[in-house]
């Protein structure tokens, strides 16, 4: 027996009116979006209480594609915006989906402070090693020696190790996957959504059209082959040593701890103050 379905079982999670999406062939953003909505579906998340916030960049359009309350902020500011949302209504699940340039160059300060405060927002970063939307400039995650449109002679800046940065800043859940590791990524997003504190997943994502073509990986397949060849799962290893080189991409979960969230401390403090204590 065959059954005809009118629409894809996950289409309720997406805004059909926003399609087609803007992403290039071979881009990893669709895989990240796919993993995210699968995680929502598997957890049966209450979509009325989920807010997706993004910044500016290719992956920033994801907020508009997901059929929940969503806000596409200014460049670099989704975490600061999300902090206001989460504190104003702590019952909301607030997820930031944005890129490496948005979150770690122009928005780097907001990332480390939200992690330090342990605001209960969840951050998914698509790391494609460059500024895709503006045509492939060097960014804070571009590997040494890589070619971009603004490093035509090779990059001389040391890149951030995002999982090390997140762990050092105080994030309570930290993981890195590539878009090749779809099932692990989906599993990890489910954990991210179930954790209370500031949680972070870096997803290494192919950008063949804008980044790969300058670096001997002209197609999405070639970039995925790099991820396949180089990835090493090393759960709960030292994130300081979680390198990304042509030979080795260290992936896995690095941090999964509990500590009081900002909202918990705030509401406890407010309850004391309202009872007249703590003065």
């Amino acid at each position: 027996m065959t059954e005809t379905v009118e629409q894809h079982p996950l289409s309720k999670y997406l805004r059909a009116a926003m399609m087609p999406h803007i992403w290039c062939a071979g881009c990893g953003n669709g895989i990240i979006l796919n993993a995210f909505v699968h995680a929502l579906d598997e957890l049966q998340i209450n979509l009325d209480k989920l807010v997706v916030v993004s910044g500016i960049g290719c992956i920033g359009r994801a907020a508009g594609y997901i059929n929940v309350d969503s806000f596409h902020t200014t460049h670099g500011r989704p975490i600061a915006f999300a902090t206001g949302v989460k504190l104003a209504n702590s019952e909301l699940e607030v997820v930031v989906i944005s890129g490496d340039g948005d979150l770690f160059a122009i928005g780097g300060n907001h990332f480390i402070h939200a992690a330090r405060r342990n605001i209960g927002i969840k951050v998914i970063c698509a790391n494609n090693f460059n500024y895709g939307m503006t045509g492939g400039q060097v960014g804070p995650t571009t590997p040494l020696d890589a070619f971009t449109t603004t490093t035509p002679y090779g990059n001389i800046e040391h890149p951030f190790n995002l999982v090390h940065l997140a762990a050092a800043a105080g994030a309570t859940y930290v993981a890195r996957w590539t878009t090749l590791h779809v099932r692990m990524l989906t599993m990890s997003i489910k954990k991210l959504l179930q954790r209370k504190g500031f949680s972070f997943i870096e997803v290494i994502s192919p950008c063949p059209e804008i980044y790969g073509r300058h670096n001997k990986m002209r197609t999405g397949l070639e970039m995925m082959e790099w991820f396949k060849k180089a990835s090493v799962i090393s759960n709960f290893s030292d994130p300081a040593k979680a390198e990304i080189t042509p030979e080795r991409i260290v992936i896995g979960e690095f941090v999964d701890i509990q500590k009081p969230t900002y909202e918990e401390l705030l509401h406890n403090k407010m309850a004391q103050i309202m009872k007249g204590e703590g003065e």
């Binding site: 979509l47 009325d48 969503s70 596409h72 999300a82 909301l92």
Partner: protein, 383 residues
């Protein structure tokens, strides 16, 4: 809330910064995000004490960019929200003031003006940000800006600012100056029932029919996050659904024109001025903020000396009260504009005065103009 009052009804002796904070709480503000900066810090300090007692949120962010971003987020999550800063912080906020204008996020920004540019004179008063208030973010948009000239008005106009922000879904600015903010004066706080509170229009359509940017009388009703409407908002040019239409000239024209029109077409309802002895005034002093206090004193002294002087004090700086200026200019021989800057609102006055001579009195780097200084100017042109 253990009996903690949100409205401190009664007569108080307080500073402008504290009055501003109390005005915000009385207006229903329950979210404040800020960053320390002289001379606005006392607003944050007082909010930090009071907000948790009334069930509201205070957070000190990592910078002013984060502060305004959090304020916009809190506004979309349903709370009345504000931040307070001074020139350097106000500069950092400009991009996201544009985001608030574009996404029609009701919010209040207090700028306690000090001497600029750059770090300038942190502890001295200025009025150098009044054009930045109007034009600070890129692109075409409108905001509302109010200029308190007393501690009482720091309370009253902060409430007013929240009401305007909610009514028009627009960032509303309280452009105070260091003197008004740090001065201590008598403040009368009315009972809660006597304070007019305006809340944003809520959608009456079911969630599946809701169009977040479909205007009703120029202002779209506003759903908030978590209410089941599942809507999208973006700083990109967007249609009535909130969806990006970055290549559509029609959408851009319609949206941006409406963002301007909702303020311009309601300007008569929004604008408030104080007019003193203007009916037969030959010499009109146009002054705002703390400078208007000295100006009123000088106008009274001029009248005692037989000079027909009058005061036009804009309480609303933006939209600019050009009809009031034009009317006063009809009978006037001269308009004098004392300002703590090198010449900002004076240009608007010149534009509206349509030929009546306008004289600027700049003052920088010290206390505001004295009544005698302004009187001297009035006598010069009033003979």
């Amino acid at each position: 809330m253990a009996g903690e009052k949100t409205v401190l009804t009664g007569v108080h002796f307080m500073s402008g910064d504290i009055a501003c904070a109390e005005g915000a709480i009385a207006a229903g503000c329950r979210f404040f995000a800020g960053y320390p900066i002289t001379p606005a810090t006392e607003i944050a300090e007082h909010i930090a004490v009071r907000m948790p007692k009334v069930g509201g949120i205070y957070i000190q962010m990592e910078d002013e960019i984060a502060s305004i971003a959090a304020v916009i987020g809190a506004s979309y999550a349903g709370l009345k929200a504000m931040t307070a800063t001074s020139g350097p912080g106000f500069s950092l906020m400009q991009e996201n003031i544009g985001l608030a204008a574009m996404t029609e996020a009701p919010c209040v920004i207090v700028d306690v003006m000090r001497g600029g540019p750059s770090t300038g004179q942190p502890t001295l008063p200025g009025q150098q940000d009044v054009m930045q208030a109007k034009w600070g973010s890129h692109g075409d948009y409108e905001i509302i800006a109010l200029a308190p000239s007393s501690v009482q008005e720091m309370f009253d106009l902060t409430i007013n600012a929240f009401n305007l922000a909610e009514a028009y879904r627009v960032p509303t600015l309280v452009m105070a100056d260091e003197v008004v903010a740090h001065m201590w004066e008598r403040v009368t706080i009315p009972s809660a029932e006597e304070i007019k509170i305006v809340n944003r229009k809520k959608p009456s359509t079911p969630s599946d029919k809701y169009m977040p940017f479909m205007p009703d009388d120029l202002v779209p009703p506003m759903a908030c996050f978590g209410e089941g409407f599942r809507f999208h908002a973006t700083g990109l040019t967007h249609d009535e659904y909130g969806y990006p239409r970055t290549q559509s000239s029609e959408t851009q024209m319609k949206l941006v024109q409406r963002l301007c029109d909702k303020i311009r077409k309601n300007a008569d309802k929004i604008i408030r001025v104080e007019e003193q002895m203007l009916d037969d005034a030959e010499i009109v002093v146009f002054a705002y903020g703390i400078v208007a206090r000295a100006a009123l004193s000088s106008v009274r002294k001029a009248r005692q000396q037989g000079i027909k002087a009058g005061l036009l004090r804009p309480i609303t700086l933006w939209p600019f009260p050009e009809k009031h200026v034009a009317k006063a200019a009809e009978k006037a021989k001269a308009i004098i504009v004392p300002e703590m800057n090198c010449g900002q609102m004076v240009r608007e006055v010149e534009r509206a005065a349509k030929g009546t001579p306008v004289f600027h009195m700049p003052k920088l780097g010290e206390e505001p103009h004295t009544p005698m200084e302004i009187l001297e100017f009035i006598r010069r042109y009033g003979r």
